[in-house]
Amino acid sequence: MDSSEVGDLVPTLGPPLYRFFLSRMPPQMADEAVQEVFVRMLRLDTFDEGKGSAEAFAWGIAINVCKEIRRQPQLLPIDDVDEPPAHPGEDRRFAALRAAVALMEEPELSVFQMVLADLSIATISEMLAMPEGTVKSHIHRGKEKLKRTLIKWGYQ
């Protein structure tokens, strides 16, 4: 893909990608992760229009970038905290939600990150090549887990 093709996708793909990463990492890291996705779209020669859309290509890269980044020590899940730390200017509820999401495991994690990115069930199903029914059951289980964690942390 050339830079104008990827650049055209920035206004539509940028915001959901930003929320996707924001559900797992602080704002500054999420910003850099989105940038990394767009640069990889430009540099990787593996995009084939016949095999899938540019959006699916982008989300595939985003999931890989997220897997790479979340191995960093500051993003490892922590379960024994009184209150998850919020970053300057950030809503403390969002910081708690992010810390609770970090305790989820694949494939629920990617599904729920996409829910928080505000993608529809149909889109998540297409991007993850997963039946809609499976997506819905992951969402349901993910919500129950999140609620339990947040209650345990005292968010009532």
């Binding site: 650049g7 559900s23 767009f38 990115a117």
Partner: protein, 84 residues
């Protein structure tokens, strides 16, 4: 938070977050600069051809006599002298 309604509201609030216009602009700018740094495959072909040409000139100069025309002129001089 125990109330489902509050939890759903938290999800909706999270989904409404937007990157700033400045961030969107920076992502576009990074793409432009990434393209500028990207080397075209043709640049490698051009570099290879230029190197081949230089090498070819060096080899041909090394193998050929430096001024072959001197030998020819000497032969013609001898021929001319014989037939004078």
């Amino acid at each position: 938070m125990t109330k489902d309604k509050d939890f759903e509201q938290l999800i909706v609030d999270f989904q409404q977050q937007q990157p700033s216009a400045m961030r969107l602009e920076r992502w576009k700018r990074t793409l432009r600069s990434a393209t500028g740094n990207r080397r075209s495959p043709w640049s490698y072909v051009a570099a290879g051809l230029a190197a081949g040409l230089i090498l070819g000139v060096i080899i041909s100069r090394g193998l050929m006599p430096s001024r072959p025309e001197e030998n020819f002129s000497a032969t013609y001089v001898l021929y001319d002298v014989k037939n004078f």
